[in-house]
């Protein structure tokens, strides 16, 4: 538990960090970014909360069984998007040219269009859920182990 200045600044900065992480995840197929990069930015907000408030207050809100469910469902979304086009091959991009995320741009510089990409935005969301829940679970478990009332010496 750090001083009052640190706790106030953390309360102000955490929504901004979460919104920026969500922006990097959702625009992965238009500009730089994607599932892994946005997931790391999103999990750095959890690291900031753990450092500023101490693991005693945080470990009641981020429980390990809930994080396990989120991580497993993210991996299932990723595998399901790969199996959806199993009629042709594994990982076939079957939404190109269809109604969902289906605009096809021509070769050359293009304008910003978020409805392109096929299966790629769905895979971005699946990988981001997996990475966020995984990194947060590792940090919470290590903080509990090295605190004074946990298993630490």
């Amino acid at each position: 538990m750090m001083s009052k200045v640190v706790r106030t600044i953390t309360r102000l900065m955490t929504p901004a960090i979460l919104v920026f992480g969500l922006y990097v995840i959702m625009h992965g197929h238009v500009t730089s970014g994607g599932g892994f990069q946005g997931g790391a930015v999103f999990a750095s907000a959890a690291a900031l909360l753990l450092v500023a408030f101490g693991s005693d207050r945080i470990k009641d809100h981020m429980r390990i069984p809930d994080l396990t469910v989120i991580s497993a469902s993210g991996a299932l979304v990723f595998i399901g998007a790969g199996f959806a086009g199993i009629a042709t091959t594994f990982f076939y991009n079957l939404f190109v040219g269809s109604a969902i995320f289906g605009h096809v741009p021509e070769f050359g510089p293009a304008h910003e269009d978020i409805w392109t990409g096929g299966v790629i935005p769905i895979m971005n969301i699946g990988v981001a859920l997996n990475v966020v829940a995984g990194l947060t679970a590792v940090m919470v478990v290590m903080a509990i182990t090295s605190s004074k009332t946990g298993d630490g010496e």
């Binding site: 994607g34 293009a110 995984g134």
Partner: protein, 92 residues
Amino acid sequence: MTRKVVIGLTMVIVGMMLFAVALMMRPFGEPVSVMDDYIIENTQQVTGANNAVSAVVFDWRGYDTLGEATVLFTAVTAVVMLLRKRKDEAPE
């Protein structure tokens, strides 16, 4: 004493090999790019994405991303399993 001699000899040999290879490589800025020219030409028609790096990670080389997600999931499961509370600790 002999440990320091062995470490020093290893570092000298490996360091000379690394610096010699760094000076003998292809000039920086002229890579061999037959596969990447094909990928840049055909990304927008085949995958429909405007970002070539995301298309390469998730579509042209999707199996590598599948392996990487598996490695990350396995490592997180192993860490959470190894650091549980022991049953014979003092009751809290």
